[in-house]
Every structure is written in structure tokens, then in C-alpha cells.
């Protein structure tokens, strides 16, 4: 099947050649982090770590939105789904994440109206078609997703929809990268920056990080040749002692980003402190609704009062999310925690580091 802008970057011979170039260039121990969960999946699916010289280690970062959603927030989602007359709408990944006592999937099996949607806009249409119900969209995602949720809220206001609201558990990538850079255990030499977050925020968003921590940052696409090209660019920078921001995904990403999407996001949301699963509170790393849009805030509308909760015993998701531990170092991995019976979020989400390891290693 012809898939333009995808198949060209899956060519085995090209990938092999880039790997050769990396082998020639990499002369010292190099530790790189791929920040984005979609990169983690592509790296595992395409066996990229295995192609690289032993001196290069790839660590997975906190780039899976489901995985970094605090358990207290998921408890709040579950509380919401149990309310009379509420239709809870969500991206599919969130359904199976176990919270303190239940999951959305279990609540659905017990009669809650929980629906999987492909877009925040689908949720808005469900609200329009069910005027007797309250329809809530569980807004989790990074800068790629937040503008789509903001656009749905603006449209809901335009259409005068009173039965549509959103839980804003959106999170921002640059603040968490700043936290990771301060973690002395990681000893990172370079960052493979997320491709689709960068479509929105632009590669310029990493300049402060590159300058402050002298770390090379390269934005990568998602096909094997894209990722290998980014690794090659990082290795070149590291060998030369440089630390600049580059783009290995120029067909998709600019330095400036998508200004229209940024404006829409900014119109609806303002930054706030946010709790990241396994990492804790990070200042100004979340998004909440601006005052003008508070009537669409499900947390206020339904008094969810989200609280902090304890992680499951033995689960190492917290350390795995920041690259300090690999999944195989978790005592539960592959034993009590599998993709069929996941305990932590990293095993639930299709983009979770544990799920990727379990499936492909």
C-alpha cells in the first residue's frame, strides 16, 4: 500500500546505512533519552536499540500521557463515571488503567456509560445528541492534544452547549524535561525530542533547555529512518561537544511551531502546577481552564476534589517513567504485571515503556 510520507522512511537499506554512519561516529559511551511514548513504541517495534552500537543506550522518558496521569486523577475519573446521568468520554488508552479500587473498564462493565472517542470533537457531538445527559471528556494529553481539546471547548461555547465539560489533566513537556535534566542519576548526553508535540510548540521550545544544561536536542519523526537520523545528529553533536537544537523531522516540524494551535490553546487554558505520576508536583507543568471557560470545567461542575494516592506495592512505574529503571528491573514486570493483567500504567498504555518491552523484547 502506498503511504506517502511514511513508507519512504521505512527503507531497510537506508536505515542500515545510517546505522553504519552512527557506528563510525560514536566513539564514547552515550546515553540518549527518547522523551515521547510513540518514539518508544517505534524504537521497540523496529528493534532500533539492537541495531545500535553497544556504546549507545536509549532510555525511555515520561512521554506517555496515560502513564503520567496521577492515580488520584484516575480515581476522580472513576468517581465521575459512577454519577447518575453522566456519559464519560475518553481516549481508549485510559480505559484499562487501574486506579486505587477500580478502572473505567470495570465501571463500564458494571453499567457506567463510558464511551471511547477518537477526538474531543466526537465528545461534543455526543453532548449535542444527548441533551438530557452530562457529557464529560477526560482531557489527558500533551501540547499535541491540548489544542484539540481547547478547540472543542470553543466550539461548545459557540454552540451554546451547557451539558459538555472537560477534566483538564493536560500536561506540558518542557517543564518535565527541566526536572529530568536536574536528576543526577540519569546522566543524559542528548534528547530525542518528541515529533508531534514539537509540531505545535516548535523546536525553539528546547532552546532554553539546550542552553541551560548544555544538552543536544534533536526533534525526531516516527519512522525508523527518522529516528536513526536523529540519533546520528545527536551523536555528531556529542562527539563535537556541541549542544544545539536541530530538527530531523523537517517535513513536520518548524522552529516556530503551529501559532494558530498555540493561540487556541492559550485562549482556553492557563498554566498551573500539576502532579505527575511517579514524579510528583511540577510547577507550571499543567493546564487549567481560564476563568472565561470555567463553566466547562468538569472538576468544578462535579466537585471531583482530586486527591493524591499511593502507588501499587512494588510497582516501579515512577522510576521507569523517568528512565532511572528499565522495565526488567521492576519485580512485578512479566510476573504479576503483564499486558493482559496490568498493574501499573506503563503496562496498560500501548505507548507505555513496559508494554513496549513486554511486547517486543
Amino acid at each position: 500500500m502506498e503511504l506517502k510520507h511514511l513508507n519512504e522512511y521505512r527503507d531497510r537499506d537506508i536505515c542500515r546505512k545510517i546505522v553504519e554512519k552512527i557506528r563510525v561516529a560514536a566513539r564514547k559511551e552515550i546515553r540518549l533519552m527518547e522523551v515521547c511514548g510513540t518514539h518508544t513504541m517505534s524504537i521497540s517495534r523496529n528493534g532500533i536499540q539492537g541495531l545500535l552500537p553497544k556504546t549507545i543506550t536509549l532510555l525511555s522518558g515520561p512521554g506517555c500521557p496515560v502513564c503520567v496521569t496521577a492515580q488520584g486523577e484516575i480515581d476522580g475519573f472513576i468517581k465521575l463515571s459512577k454519577m447518575e446521568g453522566v456519559i464519560t468520554t475518553t481516549f481508549g488508552d485510559l480505559l484499562r488503567v487501574p486506579a486505587s479500587e477500580s478502572s473505567l473498564e470495570r465501571e463500564r462493565a458494571e453499567g457506567a456509560d463510558v464511551r471511547i472517542v477518537y477526538s474531543a470533537f466526537d465528545s461534543l457531538e455526543i453532548a449535542e445528541n444527548n441533551p438530557g445527559n452530562e457529557v464529560v471528556f477526560l482531557g489527558i494529553g500533551f501540547e499535541t492534544t491540548a489544542p484539540t481539546i481547547a478547540a472543542a471547548i470553543i466550539e461548545a461555547e459557540k454552540r451554546g452547549l451547557k451539558n459538555f465539560s472537560v477534566v483538564s489533566a493536560n500536561k506540558l513537556v518542557p517543564p518535565v524535561l527541566d526536572v529530568l535534566m536536574k536528576d543526577k542519576r540519569l546522566k543524559l548526553h542528548g534528547l530525542i525530542c518528541p515529533g508531534h508535540v514539537s509540531v505545535i510548540i516548535g523546536a525553539q521550545a528546547y532552546i532554553p533547555l539546550a542552553e541551560k544544561y548544555h544538552i543536544p536536542c534533536v526533534v525526531a519523526g516516527f519512522e525508523p529512518a527518522d529516528i536513526l537520523q536523529a540519533i546520528h545528529m545527536l551523536v555528531n553533536q556529542i562527539q563535537k561537544g556541541e549542544s544545539s537544537v536541530e530538527i530531523a523531522y523537517r517535513r513536520g516540524v518548524t522552529f516556530e511551531g503551529n501559532n494558530r494551535a498555540k493561540d487556541v490553546m492559550d485562549k482556553v487554558f492557563e498554566t498551573c502546577d500539576a502532579d505527575w505520576r511517579g514524579i510528583g508536583l511540577i510547577p507550571q507543568s499543567g493546564l487549567r481552564l481560564r476563568e472565561q471557560f470555567l463553566s466547562f470545567d468538569a472538576e468544578k461542575k462535579f466537585d471531583l476534589s482530586i486527591k493524591e494516592t499511593k502507588e501499587p506495592d512494588g510497582c516501579a512505574c515512577g522510576d521507569i517513567l523517568i528512565g532511572v529503571k528499565s522495565p526488567t528491573e521492576c519485580p512485578l514486570f512479566g510476573k504479576t504485571c503483564t499486558t493482559t493483567h496490568p498493574i501499573g500504567p506503563c503496562m496498560v498504555s500501548t505507548e507505555g515503556t513496559c508494554a513496549a518491552y513486554y511486547k517486543y523484547h
Binding site: K17, I18, K21, A151
Partner: protein, 78 residues
């Protein structure tokens, strides 16, 4: 979650576009993209929204570079 794929634009209306990937057709929103795409463009689609028009010129440059990589150093691999 930040999964997004390039899809070909078939038809554009004020706030929506019909797009195609490998024969699968979808309708996507254009609320967060400026300028709007035109028929024949490829757009990156995330969660039902077009978020970027693929830069064909940049794609050609990248592919040209990758082909160069493939051409040079062939002797070292044999």
C-alpha cells in the same frame, strides 16, 4: 497518544476537510491550522484535527539526503 499520521486532503470546506490514508477516508477539523490546507496537500492528523501541512520541499530535501546516504559508502558494506 501523540500518534499522528499524514493523510491526503481530498476536499476542503470551511472548518473541515475530507482526507484519505491508504483508501480509508475520514473527515478532520481545521480549527487549529492556519493557513488552511488545499486539495492535494498532505496533513498530519492527530485526534481528528489537522495540525500541520507536510512541507513537500523539506520532505524532498530529507529524502535527497537519505538517498545520498544510501549511495555513498556502498563499497564499505560489501
Amino acid at each position: 497518544m501523540c500518534l499522528a499520521v499524514p493523510m491526503k486532503v481530498l476536499h476542503v470546506e470551511e472548518m473541515t476537510a475530507d482526507v484519505d490514508i491508504g483508501g480509508i477516508k475520514k473527515r478532520v477539523r481545521l480549527d487549529i491550522i492556519e493557513p488552511k490546507p488545499v486539495t492535494g496537500d498532505y496533513v498530519i492528523v492527530h485526534a481528528g484535527f489537522a495540525i500541520h501541512i507536510i512541507d513537500e520541499k523539506e520532505a524532498k530535501i530529507t529524502l535527497g539526503y537519505l538517498k545520498e546516504v544510501l549511495a555513498c559508502g556502498t563499497e564499505t558494506s560489501q
